[in-house]
Each structure stands twice: as structure tokens, then as C-alpha cells.
């Protein structure tokens, strides 16, 4: 296996000296108290991706998102002016949940001309203004202008719709994303609209789950089946070509083998027949390569995995991408959303290639999800104090170190702001 050069400091981790190299604690992933702080310090302050613009194709297109970590439900809607806005999903009259279909706690999507509350029939237009009140004369000096829907900050970057629950976001979305992520400004996500969507409810902290998708050190062990048993090396290793950190965000790039150049025994029969598999379709339509896609200049480039703080991951292969979101539901559980996105299939064969990649995704993500329940359980062992509180992380696990440090830093900043100034 190729050895990739490390930064002059000797390691990726030491290239970012704030990270340190000592063992880390995972109390940030086992403590209910820390989780309560994260809700305020991270999820009510950071920009959160909730959708793609293609999910809101025309004026009146809307969707709702249940965001348990911020204890709210949000309506995201496209107005007649084509602008996408977000509102808390609460009727301003008596607090009824405004938009839902069969069950109030289920997310919905659709198209409408206005929102009508089921309870007393109050109506709101697509920009959130209150437009109709039943029997207005019964109220006491009600000015409809004062009772529009409560807005949520909403902005769009390269087709990704983000919301922010802060009263006044500390940074614009572009400032928050920073130069490493916005170097993908011209990446044509909008041309990859054929999606395979997945949802899971996992019994691990959101960061513990994210950790399995930001290092590849675990791949030869947990996912040994990614290589056919006849050619599997018992002590296989994996080394990433490039790591980079920018503010709270991270990326990792790995080299990629051109699958059709591999000896046939390195592939499963289903891969050879369908010309697709673990790393997706062997050949994909020519896709514009943004400057930000391969910042380490890895050759042959395989994937770059962008981890956008706090809970979004975009994993870009040649000509298709994967997206993960980790929505915390408690200190030890989260809702996992994932999709594969391809250029729309032009032929049956291309559709079959997409199906194979989507089947494989689920197989190996199930291994991560199954095992990480065990990780969470063991991290929580002990009564008041964790039994083990110092876990060593290697250089291939730099991004794990960075995510946990960033979460702790954001919580500390929040706590410091609220602490009375000393004399």
C-alpha cells in the first residue's frame, strides 16, 4: 500500500497543535448533562442542513423537520418569490402544531397555497404572515401583523438548505462554512438528483456514530468483508492521503483504485456483473471537479469526505455523493439520515449500478450501527465515574480528536458567556 507523506511536523495531528496528542475522554458522549449543554451551545447556534433545494421545487413546496435536539419542529417552504424560508411549526393563536398530516410527530412534505391550522382555521401565507382569522371581531384589539409565524434563520449554500436557531446567528452561513467548504461553491450537486434515502434510529451518541465515518482505521477490521475472503490480508492496513481542518469543519481524502483495473478475484461476482459496488458505479458521467474537491492533490483521487460541523457529512466520489446527518435524540441515541445521490440514470444498466451501490451502503452501515451500540454501552460502564476515561487516538483518527474537541470547545464557550464576570 502506498505511504502518503505527512506534514513537516511529523504527523497530521501535530500539524494542528491545538489538538494535542494525549489520550481523550469520551464523557462528552455519555453524559446527559453534557448533552443538555450541547443542545444550547451547538445545535441552537450552528447552521444545520435540513434539505436540498430540489426537495422544494416550486412556489408552495414545503417540508417539515422534527428537530428534537432543539425541541422544535420547523416548516421549510418556498415562497412565490422563489425564496426559501423557515418557520417554527406553531400556530400563533393557541400553539397548535400547524403543519402535519396523520400524526403530529411525523414529518410531512407537499405543496400548498397557504397553511391552515386544523384547530380554529387560522391561515398563514407562504411568507409566514397571518392572513385569516375566524371571527376576528371576537378578539380584543388583535392586529394580524403581530401574529405571523415565528421565523427561523434560513439560508442556502450550493443548493443545501440550512437553518439556524440562534436569535441572531454569530456568523452568516458562508462565514460559518469557511473557505475549505465554500471551495466547493461550483461543485455541481444540482446535477446529482437521483436519490436513495435511508433513516435509522441508532443507540449511540451522535458523535460516536460520526466517528466511524471520519476515520478509516477501522475498515480492515470491522468491514473485512469489503475484500473477498480469498484475497483478504489478515493484517491489512489503511492509510489516508490527506487530512485538513478549518475551524469546526474537517475533511479526509483517500486514494481510489480504478475498479475495472483490479484483478477479478479482488471483486465479488455481483460487482463484476453489475460494474458497481462498494465505491459506487465504476464509470459515472463526466462531472466538474471543483478546486476544493481534492485539496491534498491525491492521485489517483478516490473520495473526499467533508465533515461539516456539527452533524453533516458529505462524502464525494467521482460523479456521485453520499450525505449523512446525525440528529441527536438523547445523550445515547440519534436519528441517522443518509442518502446516495447520482446523476439520473439514462439506462436500465445505470439504474442497476445505482441500486447495487445503495444496497452495499446499507450492508456496511448496518455493521457500523450494530457495533456502535456496543461502543456506547461500554463507554457508559461504571457508576458515577467512567471505568476508562483515557482513550488513545492515533494519527489516522485525527478527525475523531477534532470533533470531540470542537464540541467541548463550543460548550465551554457557551458556559463562559453565561458565567458572571469575576471581580
Amino acid at each position: 500500500m502506498a505511504k502518503w507523506p505527512k506534514p513537516v511536523e511529523g504527523s497530521w495531528t501535530q500539524h494542528y497543535p491545538d489538538l494535542g496528542t494525549g489520550p481523550v475522554s469520551f464523557r462528552d458522549s455519555t453524559s446527559p448533562e453534557f448533552y443538555e449543554l450541547e443542545r444550547e451551545a451547538i445545535f441552537k447556534r450552528a447552521w444545520l442542513n435540513v434539505a436540498r433545494v430540489e426537495e422544494l421545487p416550486r412556489a408552495g413546496s414545503y417540508l417539515t423537520k422534527e428537530i428534537e435536539v432543539a425541541k422544535t419542529s420547523v416548516i421549510v417552504v418556498k415562497g412565490r418569490d422563489e425564496q426559501i424560508r423557515a418557520f417554527h411549526n406553531i400556530c400563533r393563536h393557541r400553539g397548535n402544531k400547524l403543519v402535519w398530516n396523520d400524526y403530529p410527530n411525523e414529518e410531512v412534505k407537499g405543496t400548498c397555497r397557504q397553511f391552515t391550522c386544523k384547530y380554529h382555521g387560522w391561515r398563514y401565507n407562504l411568507t409566514g404572515d397571518l392572513t385569516f382569522v375566524q371571527q376576528p371581531g371576537e378578539f380584543f384589539g388583535l392586529d394580524e401583523k403581530d401574529y405571523g409565524l415565528a421565523p427561523v434563520h434560513c439560508d442556502v449554500w450550493n443548493g443545501f438548505v440550512f437553518i439556524n436557531f440562534d436569535r441572531e446567528p454569530r456568523q452568516t452561513l458562508r462565514e460559518f462554512l469557511g473557505p475549505m467548504i465554500t471551495a466547493l461553491d461550483d461543485y455541481p450537486f444540482e446535477s446529482m438528483t437521483e436519490r436513495y434515502d435511508f433513516v435509522a434510529h441508532n443507540n449511540s451518541n451522535w458523535k460516536i456514530f460520526a466517528d466511524a465515518f471520519q476515520e478509516y482505521y477501522h475498515v480492515p477490521s470491522l468491514h473485512s468483508q469489503q475484500v473477498p475472503s480469498a484475497v483478504r490480508q489478515p493484517n491489512a492496513t489503511f492509510e489516508c492521503g490527506h487530512f485538513q481542518i478549518d475551524g469546526p469543519h474537517r475533511l479526509v481524502s483517500t486514494a481510489g483504485t480504478r475498479r475495472w483495473l483490479l484483478a477479478p478475484e479482488y471483486m465479488y461476482p455481483v460487482e463484476r456483473v453489475t460494474r458497481s459496488g462498494l465505491v459506487g458505479p465504476w464509470r459515472t458521467p463526466e462531472t466538474h471537479q471543483s478546486a476544493g474537491l481534492n485539496p491534498g492533490g491525491i492521485e489517483p483521487w478516490g473520495i473526499t469526505n467533508f465533515q461539516i460541523f456539527p452533524n453533516l457529512e458529505i462524502l464525494i466520489y467521482h460523479g456521485w455523493y453520499l450525505l449523512y446527518r446525525y440528529w441527536p435524540t438523547s445523550h445515547s441515541t440519534h436519528k441517522f439520515e443518509a442518502y446516495n445521490a447520482f446523476h439520473p440514470a439514462r439506462t436500465v444498466r445505470e439504474r442497476i449500478e445505482h441500486e447495487v451501490a445503495s444496497v452495499v451502503l446499507k450492508e456496511f452501515a448496518l455493521q457500523d450501527a450494530g457495533m456502535l451500540g456496543g461502543t456506547q454501552a461500554a463507554l457508559e460502564y461504571g457508576l458515577d465515574e467512567p471505568i476508562v476515561d483515557d482513550y488513545p487516538l492515533n494519527d489516522q483518527e485525527i478527525l475523531v480528536r477534532h470533533l470531540h474537541k470542537t464540541a467541548v470547545d463550543w460548550v465551554e464557550e457557551y458556559q463562559n458567556e453565561r458565567r458572571p464576570v469575576g471581580v
Binding site: 435511508f198 455481483v270 450492508e363 448496518l366
Partner: protein, 113 residues
């Protein structure tokens, strides 16, 4: 005795015996069928279909994706089931992925067909 209407194109009539069980339109149906079918029976379908797997793909590929005749669509669904059981036969040797424990991941959206 009535003979069931053939589901598949005539050239693939030898797979009619699998059609009732494995021509499934959605991933949740195919996933459930894989989990609930004994490995012996999965092997039977896999072994029978393997020699003509590629030919079946090429056959479907002659038709426009959004205008597949009923029998070709059924063959495509059989191909999707072949992909599904290939994971059990070739990769894991069991219906369920190794080490997946009690984890569940639901596919909630996909293109048709």
C-alpha cells in the same frame, strides 16, 4: 388446474418458479424476503440465476428505462432481488450482515423502477 400467467419474458421462462417469491418492487420487500428466507433456499435462487445474471441485465437494458413492459419490469425486479441475495451469499454467508446486531436501517426513498 389453472396455469399461472407467465410473469417474465419468454427467454427467461426457466425463472418463472422464482418469480412469485422474488419479483418484488421495493427494497423493504426484498430486504424482508432475504431475512426471512433460509440460506438454502436463497442459494437455490442465486445458483440458478447466476449463469444468466449478466444476460438478464443486457436484456432489460434494451428498453427505455421509463417505458419497461410489464414482463421486463418483473425481470428487473428479479435482478434487484439477485443483487440483494448476492450480499448474503457472496459477502456475509448469512442473511444478515455480520456484526449488525439489532441495528435497523430503513430505505425510505428510491427512484422507480
Amino acid at each position: 388446474m389453472t396455469v399461472a400467467e407467465p410473469k417474465l419474458p419468454g427467454a427467461f421462462a426457466e425463472f418463472e418458479r422464482f418469480a412469485e417469491k422474488w419479483c418484488l418492487a421495493t427494497e423493504p420487500d426484498r430486504w424482508q424476503m432475504r431475512l426471512s428466507t433460509p440460506m438454502g433456499e436463497i442459494h437455490e435462487f442465486y445458483d440458478a440465476f447466476t449463469p444468466r445474471f449478466e444476460e438478464a441485465i443486457d436484456y432489460c437494458d434494451k428498453f427505455p428505462l421509463d417505458e419497461l413492459p410489464e414482463d421486463v419490469l418483473n425481470l428487473l425486479h428479479l435482478i434487484y432481488s439477485m443483487i440483494m441475495v448476492s450480499m448474503a451469499v457472496e459477502v456475509f454467508g448469512t442473511q444478515k450482515p455480520a456484526d449488525s446486531a439489532d441495528a435497523v436501517i430503513d430505505r425510505v426513498g428510491a427512484p422507480v423502477p
